[in-house]
Amino acid sequence: MRCTFAVLVENQPGVLTRVAGLFGRRGFNIKSLAVGVTQDPLLSRMTIVVDGDEAVLEQVQKQLGKLINILKVSVLEEDAAIGRELALVRVHAPPAQRAAIMQVADIFRAKIVDVARRSMVIEVTGDEDKVSAMVELLREFGIIEVVRTGKIAMARGSKQTTGGMRCGESAVRSGRRFESPEEFACGGVRLREPGKRAVAESEG
């Protein structure tokens, strides 16, 4: 299961190390991590994509929430968020192939940002699938190198990505707000019929 966390952190030295160290130490699997300053220069936003089962994702959220420099941890649901990656692709481009490459770039609304005698650099933005699809198509021309950012993401609609949700009030699985801190504490695991272990809802 893959999950995108939007994490609001204090813009201080060492915060990235704390987050990276936490993931390494607890064996959490980071798919990608991107970080940049927010509209408030004291705060940065990290967008972290994590692979893991429900229990792992729950621990990721709780353990992140424990870090003193982290203000809010929220989950961005695939269909309720805009996710973007950026890639720079240097592709083999002798004059005879330029037009074909530019056609591919056009289809993906990518930009040619640098041209050399036998190669060019293409900039593409989009969600992970789009970027991957374009990289795949360019392969046949001969890719020299690829540089990709991690994913950044923002909630759709008028709601702020982490604005309305404090760490401790957001949900791993549904993005909804929990009714109580305890419900958060167990990641949405609620009491079911007696005698049976409560099982968490699976992601949508």
Binding site: T17, Q59, K62, Q63, L67, I68, L71, E182, A185
Partner: protein
């Protein structure tokens, strides 16, 4: 006021009266302005500074403080910090650092302590500007003691220690990302009460969290009202007095038959400040298979981390109990209580166990009156104490739980004795453990601390040897240690020391130990064949208890 002066002033303003430390180049300017009113205990190894501050804190609940210089000094603190982190002990470590202009240049005695201690502390600071110092200290002292307690490290470059603190500086903590929750959620507490009310076989498990929350009186009220059998983790020993009729003893790998059986049979388990470590649960999947688990913890990340939980309650245990107790009905559960409180326990023989029993008889009255603190090291002796010594009050058992760090005992005893000069502090240790920080005998003598040491000497690393006997077909490798002449060694440091010659001599030896006013050591030779039983093999369910060991082929 210089940074160094601000450091000491901040500590004293927060009620710190004693620090454990070891000076060096990078902290020179702080030591230069050390106030006379602040007691500084000079240890012989920085590791002991961290562990003594930890013992001080465990004995009192107050903040323990240790100080070390940069590089090697700070690195020597690490195992002590990790120990405090595992057992949630409020500790402040202050380390010197090379001047900011030298940072990152591999200067003399430079180590990245900020980076190194990140995974070993609750939080840490590298203060690179003097105007950040007052706030960093206030925040560090607050964080160490708030919510789930833990160690916090503040790394101070020497130029920051020397700089003048600006007149007007905002020192108020600014922690927008840290708001520990204290009160439990009332509807959750009500659900917990319902589960306890409808349970036929309820059980209570107390851990270190109950101790740190000061919840012992409330736990007693709950027991008396609801008549629930109670077991304790290693960290929770003393929260419920050993003499209590509902007390089942310690749970887990070396737990009692009663506690381990009850937890597997109960239909409701109320866990107070327990993190369900592997030494407690055994095989996680088969731990307490029949029960509804109600877990109360101040740290939300502990809930559901190791075992599934039905009713999570996040909050301070005392506060949660205050709300919970009125909701829990008076009950008898008498058949269940009778069953689990009447289980047969292995008697346990051997000189080691007998020494702990004798100690219990001789000091039992002191323990009952809360006049005694028992500190242990790590190994067989530690488990024998946990199994056989009767604790009556919280904070009277001081031991390294989560990290299980040998060498902890003597420095922790020093910290405990300094914290509680009016109490008798006994260290029960083994020859392997004592050797690890034996140099601290000198600290005890220099500080005039009348610590009593009971040394169980089997000339081997007994618990490792036991593991090899039980799980490696008796292939004993690297566990035999020839010790020094302990009586002569202790005498050389200035301890009065005796030998107990055989089991018949134990009571007399112990009596002599406690008749002595000053620091003293009793050496008890025991056999390397003695085992800690019962024992649950690692990764096995708690029901698989090895209760008897005849050794060799007779197993």
């Amino acid at each position: 006021m210089t940074g160094g002066e601000a450091l000491w002033k901040s500590l004293m303003d927060h009620g710190v009266g004693v620090v454990f430390g070891y000076p060096g180049g990078a902290v020179l300017s702080a030591y230069d302005v050390l106030p006379r009113a602040l007691r500084h205990v000079l240890v012989r190894h920085e590791q002991a500074a961290a562990m003594a501050a930890d013992g001080y804190s465990r004995a009192t609940g107050r903040l323990g403080v240790c100080v070390a210089t940069s590089g090697p000094g700070a690195l020597n603190l690490l195992s002590g910090l990790a120990n405090a982190f595992m057992d949630s002990v409020p500790l402040l470590a202050v380390t010197g650092q090379v001047p900011t202009a030298q940072l990152g240049r591999d200067a003399f005695q430079e180590t990245d302590i900020f980076g190194t201690t990140m995974p070993l502390t609750k939080h840490n600071y590298l203060v690179s500007r003097i105007d950040e110092l007052p706030r960093a200290l206030n925040e560090a002292i607050y964080i160490a003691q708030a919510g789930r307690k833990g160690p916090v490290l503040v790394d101070l470059p020497s130029d920051v220690l020397q700089a003048e603190v600006p007149e007007k500086v905002d020192a108020a903590p600014r922690l927008p990302g840290y708001r520990p929750r204290r009160d439990g959620h009332p509807p959750q507490i009500a659900r917990g009460a319902e589960v306890l009310a409808s349970a036929e076989r309820p059980m209570l498990l107390v851990g270190g969290g109950a101790k740190w929350s000061g919840a012992a009186p409330l736990v007693m009220r709950l027991l008396e009202k609801a008549n629930i059998p109670v077991a304790s983790t290693l960290m929770g020993l003393g929260v419920v007095p050993a003499s209590h009729p509902l007390y089942l003893g310690m749970i887990g790998m070396h737990g009692t038959v009663a506690a381990n059986t009850a937890v597997q049979e109960c239909d409701a388990l109320l866990a107070l400040g327990v993190r369900f470590g592997d030494r407690v649960t055994g095989k996680r999947d088969s731990f307490t298979p029949l029960s509804q688990v109600i877990q109360v913890d101040v740290d939300p990340a502990e809930i559901g981390k190791n075992i599934p939980v039905h009713i999570p309650i996040v909050g301070d245990i005392s506060r949660v109990l205050e709300t919970l107790i009125p909701l829990v009905p008076r009950k008898k559960n008498q058949r269940w209580v009778d069953r689990v409180t009447s289980m047969e326990e292995p008697v346990g023989d051997g000189v080691g166990v007998e020494a702990i029993r004798s100690l219990g008889r001789i000091t039992g009255e002191m323990a009952r009156r809360d006049k005694l603190i028992l500190v242990t090291d790590v190994g067989q002796h530690q488990m024998w104490v946990a199994q056989h010594y009767p604790f009556y009050h919280p904070r009277t058992m001081i031991t390294s739980g989560g990290l299980g760090i040998m060498g902890y005992g003597l420095p922790a005893a020093i910290g405990a004795q300094i914290a509680c000069p009016e109490k008798t502090v006994v260290l029960v240790t083994g020859d392997g453990s004592l050797q690890m920080n034996v140099q601290e005998m000198a600290t005890a003598i220099q500080e005039g601390l009348p610590i009593k040491i009971v040394l169980l000497d089997n000339k081997s690393l007994g618990l490792v040897l036991q593991l090899q006997d039980l799980y490696c077909n008796g292939n004993r490798v690297a566990v035999s240690i020839e010790g020094p002449d302990w009586v002569a060694l202790a005498g050389a440091y200035g301890f009065k020391a005796w030998r107990a010659n055989g089991p018949g001599d134990l009571e007399d030896g112990l009596s002599a130990l406690f008749a002595e006013k000053g620091p003293a050591l009793l050496h008890c030779a025991i056999s390397a064949e003695e085992k800690v039983l019962p024992a649950v093999p690692p990764g096995e369910p708690l029901t698989h208890m090895i209760k008897e060991w005849r050794g060799g082929d007779g197993r």
